[in-house]
Symmetry: C2
Subunit: 420 residues, 2 copies
């Protein structure tokens, strides 16, 4: 019998304890041994929980108990880091769903774990077994790119905005009422949640030890109705994507709202669902789709890890049994990012403006792919929407500064990166 | 160093040998050890191969060599069964991409393998790591259903028929010219290839020991332009699906052309791509998408298995460390299948016909969901297309017999099952 202790019996922890009981028949047959949840910790013992395991409000009771595997579902960074470290020091295997913990401390934890399993399938894209796919199923590949819808809240909001024309403000309010978004939605809509997950995937794919503050993170709060209309007209969806791309001299890691051509498999993923598209040099294009959140879906991934530990399978935690021997890929600076771009300008409606704009762009080596001029509500102003061919982030920023310097162009220039 | 021998150096075998060399950097870092292909067998030594490993035309040279892992890529059933058995007897781990071998002998091979790894990620859906997903990532779930596009040739043909209106005969010819279909296409278009793969998935999900002759296998050769037109009009795609469904008293396993509502994620999978949708009781709906064939994509899965063996991970081969203790699910008879159905009849164009048809159906407890009457080229005849609510295969067959007995209905009644 394998005993499990749960740090943080909230929604997911309750699901873990209950599914371990409900599906005991199939879980024990697959693991080869009974797996029994015995103890869990909660912040307050007063609140009623729908589980029949022993509860404590002292996390150390879990660490000091005789359980074999500790499941960490507290959230946050430093408290779980201390507790997971103590669990590993006491010889216990650990399963965590905590993306923030891993975004900051995955390499230290790998070090501390040594030969002990420390698994985290639930930390990225909830119930989708993307960690296993990347660490095991696609391990023969140099990963060319990972493009993921890693935050269901943002995808729900963007789907509503595109498909139903609901405004950003209204859909945020609705998402908050439905419980998809927090009262302070920054962590989701600002792209930080997706960034934590992207960093975990980037370690397995590329061995990159980066932290959230090292990479480009933008959210979806700048998406306007004009952008949505343009996307529809030109055959794009708008998605908040985590993007990892291998280039000759390093790897791009970035999270931002993205226009995605509607023929890309990931463009078809709507609502709260998550999906991760992975391109490998041997396998080609793959995609993994499923629920990115929810108690039972997340518990499905947590328990899969527990079963793997029970079976005696060990990882390696971050996908590499040994280092890349000096070949680890370096993280590229934001300026080095290469993408196609959608630009939105306001210009005065007079002869020669288009020539000034295109000439300013061409001076910065930006080549235009498509262009759309629309009437504006303001007299003598028109909106100019255009897309570029592939270019460097540094150059598009320089070009935007050149455009702002033109008298005929308004200061408020925005852009969205395009994925084809 | 781990030495690999390859039984059958054809397209996939050549890719395996070459990718092991080309991606040696990342493969050895992930596996923790160098993995080197050293010997391979071919039918004829005269044909030039694009690999630089030792070649032999005697399979036993591979078995008797000092390799640690044997990769079986011969195809067929009995010859590889003997060779894989001998490899296991001589203490070698085995990786196979051979779905036919596993469709017939997976349980005997599991027995023979004992504690030795015998892995087969490449046998189902090529480069998609669906075996790992089902065996490990979703192991906490009772699997409610598996619905898979498991044959790229059929999906290519059906996509062309639906999207471009190409006839079955023309698209088959084109698929043969492109090398997607064999001169004798029966194995693909008859559903047998998909059935082999479905049986492998059904073992991992349900522990079911069935053989191809035990399950319903139909192909795509009966799909007419009328069916395609109806599908378009009513918002369906037509796909050849492998379907496994858990019901209260057992499991349905079946392969057949299927009308799939175009909102289902699998309906959006076009061309030669494969996809497998898995619904679990904890995780909900997931889908795995990628290339189902091709040398490099298949080799990606073969090498992933080799890396898992090098890492010391062991399985269990068919997903269960121990039996289900009398709870193994039984295979349901074909008559017990439950589905919605699309029916195509020719009826005489006269008063009372619709009443006769609907009354015949209702006597067999078949309830109609939608109905479409179309003019026919033959005078005094009309085509009646209808869909039913969920009913048993036994009842729809009885209903079809009742309809045939009516004077106003033509003998040639066809049906397609519907997945929603």
């Amino acid at each position: 019998m394998i005993k499990v202790g749960i740090l943080g019996v909230g929604t997911v922890g309750t699901s873990v304890a209950n599914i371990l009981k409900k599906n005991r028949d199939i879980i024990s047959a697959r693991a080869g041994v009974e797996i029994v949840p015995v103890i869990g910790s909660v912040r307050s013992l007063d609140k009623k929980r729908d589980v029949d395991i022993e509860l404590t409000d002292n996390s150390m009771d879990i660490i000091d108990s005789d359980v074999d595997i500790i499941v960490e579902l507290i959230g946050g960074v430093e408290e779980p880091y201390i507790l997971v470290s103590k669990a590993l020091e006491s010889g216990k295997s650990v399963v965590t769903a905590n993306k923030a913990l891993l975004a900051y401390h995955r390499y230290e934890l790998q070090e501390k774990a040594g030969d002990l399993p420390l698994f985290y399938e639930a930390s990225v894209a909830g119930g989708i077994p993307i960690i296993g796919a990347l660490r095991n199923g696609l391990s023969a590949n140099h990963i060319e790119s990972i493009v993921g819808i890693l935050n269901g809240t943002c995808n729900y909001m963007l789907t509503k905005m595109i498909k139903e024309g609901v405004s950003y403000g209204d859909v945020l309010k609705e998402a908050q009422e439905l419980g998809y978004a927090e009262a302070d939605p920054t962590f989701d809509v600002g792209g930080f949640d997706a960034a934590h997950k992207l960093l975990i995937l980037a370690s397995i794919a590329y061995g990159i030890d980066a932290k959230p503050e090292d990479i480009l993170i933008e959210g979806i709060d700048n998406i306007s109705q004009t952008d949505v209309d343009f996307a529809k007209e030109f055959g794009y969806e708008i998605k908040l994507l985590g993007v990892a791309k291998r280039r000759e001299n390093g790897v791009e890691l970035r999270v931002h709202a993205t226009m995605v051509k509607d023929t890309h498999p990931i463009a078809k993923v709507d609502g709260v669902m998550n999906a991760v598209s992975v391109v490998g040099d041997s396998v080609g294009q793959t995609m993994f789709y499923g629920p990115g959140a929810g108690g039972d879906a997340t518990a499905s991934a947590v328990i899969a890890d527990i079963i793997e530990i029970a079976r005696g399978n060990k990882g390696p935690m971050l996908g590499y049994k040994r280092g890349l021997e000096g070949e680890a890929l370096k993280l590229l600076e934001t300026d080095e990012i290469e993408s196609k771009y959608y630009l939105k300008l306001k210009v005065t409606d007079e002869p020669g403006v288009l020539a000034s704009v295109t000439s300013a762009l061409s001076k910065e080596r930006i080549s235009i792919s498509s262009i759309l001029q629309k009437e504006s509500k303001v007299e003598n102003r028109v909106r100019l929407l255009l897309t570029t061919h592939r270019c460097k982030e540094r150059d598009i920023k320089a070009a935007i500064n050149s455009l702002k310097a033109l008298d005929c162009v308004g200061d408020n220039i925005s852009f969205i990166r395009i994925e084809e």
